[in-house]
């Protein structure tokens, strides 16, 4: 998933615009509270056709973490 695709996913999930979007940005700085994050994860699961567990979802801190998850670099509950 590219940064641009992630930006579109974020916008369609929350109804807000995210410009600029950078990998180092913290999700809390984008106003993504826990429910937004879970909804985002749910859409990602649908797109990626895989299950993302709670601990993995709750460890997401930055846009880069989301990109890594979307590209399969992060597996469930990797510690």
């Amino acid at each position: 998933m590219t940064l641009e695709e992630l930006r579109e996913l974020l916008s369609s999930t929350t109804g807000r615009h995210f410009d600029p979007l950078k990998p180092e940005q913290e999700l809390t700085d984008l106003g993504l509270e826990s429910i937004d994050r879970v909804r985002l994860v749910s859409r990602l699961e649908h797109q990626l056709n895989r299950d993302i567990d709670e601990r993995t979802a709750m460890r997401l801190r930055t846009v880069g973490d989301l990109l890594a998850l979307a590209s399969g670099e992060v597996r469930n509950d990797d510690r």
């Binding site: 984008l30 106003g31 879970v38 994860v41 749910s42 601990r55």
Partner: protein, 551 residues
């Protein structure tokens, strides 16, 4: 003889008082429910209690439960009680502000060092011992006896979703037993009910209303994680249907979320006809939400009579008033009369599910009835120091009864004396409670409480202004919509207002209103006057520089 505490309740499970009582945990990966007999869980809890007891820094130490698997969490709650301790289920985000901030909060809150029970944490300072709370550890030993005498307190509970300035409420075993028996009596619960829940156990509705309610009455109980509900809300409805659940609670937000986000293709074959009591509380209960839920799910068997609007709070253990079995009702009142001592100006009344949605004018407020108090609870309305039961008079809701909590932990305002000033404003009409406003500085977002001071600190951090110049409140507590607004003092001459940074607050706030410096109303001692600020904002009497909508 009736059990006097929750460990005696657990013993009754071992004595076979509730044959077949079982607890189910939904596993999202397999989409199956994993069942455990409650008696087996009790044996594991009593076994785990020995380990906990050995690890407690002192006999009177509390057990803080952090990041546990759902089944391990149920076991650990009971184990802590059986070890003579009291469990506190920490909010999910308790460590989001870092380990140091968490340790500071623990030290400021607990006079006696607690024991942390966690699956993932290991490296805390030596003064905060940690016990392994993994599924393997919590189920490794079994015992038929609780190892230590039971303490006075059943559990502790944070009264808000953040630990930053959270107060910790102390709930006694008798408080819990009286409240869950009162709920059952009020809604006419039978000997065999099936409870379904997705509520986290740091939430009073999840811990008392589902976990302990089911344990005490020997009811079957199936649960899923809040996480699983949020990413697939149909899973909740599917469990209710599949296991013929009769009781399931949620905050108003949960019903709205399901009505908004369940996909139609996920509803095939779901039958909600078994659902007898759909408790709705923890935040204002909205007419529009109940109507939307019924519109969406009546075709799948949901009965509108199942809705049970409620009023409760952690300091009353849980429930104070419940509308069931009366049909859900609303009143439309004059906004001008929402103030202590005024007679509520009732303009219209009706049934929540009448054919046409009720129309509400700008100067009116629509409020749902929260029903009548539980049988052992008495209510009074306090308007300026005089508590009155006078019908129709608006006042602070004062609760008296056997489930009023012991008090807050380690605070000077500790002891409740059996009387609870709730900080909520309401009135009684035809014996039913209507909640119209909130005097305490709490904002409720998606059923979770946040102290305004925590939110003000966060707004200050994001916008890089001192929190003393920020006020956060909800524009309207009753009514059909609630919008959280932050008023921020800004100096137009000092450079541009940080509107870009404000985006980080869009998940919490609906709007930021920038006002001139020194215009926020405060008392002579510097205490913020949130209510006055809200009135001034509504009346257009604050010197507004700019209003920034965030959603």
């Amino acid at each position: 003889m009736e059990p006097r505490n929750l460990v005696e309740v657990a013993n009754r499970h071992l004595d076979g008082a509730f044959p077949g009582a079982r607890r189910g945990y939904y596993d999202s990966a397999s989409r199956q429910v994993r069942w455990v007999a409650v008696a087996d869980m009790v044996r594991e809890a009593f076994g785990f209690a020995r380990r906990l007891s050995d690890a407690l820094p002192r006999r009177e130490s509390a057990c803080l439960l952090h990041d546990l698997e759902p089944r391990a969490q149920s076991t650990a709650i009971l184990a802590a009680m059986a070890a003579g301790s009291a469990p506190l289920v920490l909010p999910r985000n308790a460590l989001d502000r870092g380990t140091d901030a968490f340790v500071d909060w623990v030290r400021a809150t607990f006079d006696t060092p607690p024991l942390l029970v966690s699956e993932s944490l290991r490296d805390l300072p030596e003064s905060l011992p940690v016990a392994d709370g993994s599924p393997a550890a919590t189920s490794s030993e079994q015992s038929d006896r609780a190892p230590y005498p039971v303490g006075d307190l059943a559990f502790l509970q944070c009264t808000s979703a953040t630990t930053g300035s959270a107060k910790v409420a102390c709930i006694g075993h008798d408080n819990v037993l009286r409240n869950v028996r009162g709920i059952r009596e009020h809604v006419g619960g039978g000997d065999h009910e099936v409870v379904c829940s997705w509520l986290p156990l740091y939430h009073d509705m999840g811990l008392v209303g589902c976990e302990l309610f089911s344990l005490v009455h020997g009811y079957e109980h199936v649960s899923l994680r809040a996480y699983d509900f949020l990413r697939r809300p149909s899973a909740w409805l599917r469990l209710v249907g599949e296991f013929r659940c009769t009781m399931s609670p949620a905050p108003n937000f949960g019903y709205q979320y399901a009505a908004d986000h369940v996909r139609s293709d996920e509803l095939e074959g779901i039958d909600l006809g078994s659902w007898q009591v759909a408790f709705n509380g923890a935040e204002p209960v909205r007419v529009s939400t109940m109507r939307a839920f019924v519109d969406r799910f009546a075709p799948f068997g949901f009965r509108k009579e199942a809705f049970c609007a409620s009023y409760g709070l952690a300091e009353a253990t849980l429930a104070v008033c419940l509308s069931h079995p009366e049909p859900a009702r609303y009143l439309v009142i004059d906004r001008e009369t929402v103030k202590p001592g005024a007679a509520a100006g009732i303009r219209r009344s009706g049934s929540v599910f009448e054919a046409t949605a009720p129309a509400v004018e700008k100067n009116e407020l629509i409020v749902t009835s929260c029903g009548r108090p539980l049988s052992a609870v008495s209510l009074a309305l306090d308007a300026g120091g005089v508590a009155s039961g006078a019908a129709g008079m608006v006042g602070e809701i004062v609760v008296r009864g056997p489930s009023v909590f012991r008090g807050y932990l380690a605070r000077e305002d500790g002891s409740s004396g059996g009387e609870l000033h709730t900080g909520d404003l309401g009135f009684l009409h035809d014996g039913e409670l209507y909640v119209v406003d909130r005097l305490k500085n709490i904002v409720i977002i998606n059923g979770l409480n946040y102290p305004t001071s925590d939110l003000e600190e966060r707004v200050g951090r994001v916008l890089q202004v001192p929190p003393e110049g920020v006020m956060v409140f909800e524009r309207s507590i009753g009514g059909e919509a609630s919008s959280v607004v932050a008023i921020v003092e800004a100096d137009p001459g000092a450079g541009p207002i940080a509107e870009d940074a404000a985006q980080a607050l869009s998940g919490l706030l609906g709007q930021i209103v920038f006002v001139k410096r020194r215009s926020l109303p405060k008392t002579t001692s510097g205490k913020k006057q949130h209510h006055l600020a809200r009135s001034l904002l509504a009346a257009g009497q604050l010197p507004v520089i700019k209003t920034t909508p965030l959603r």
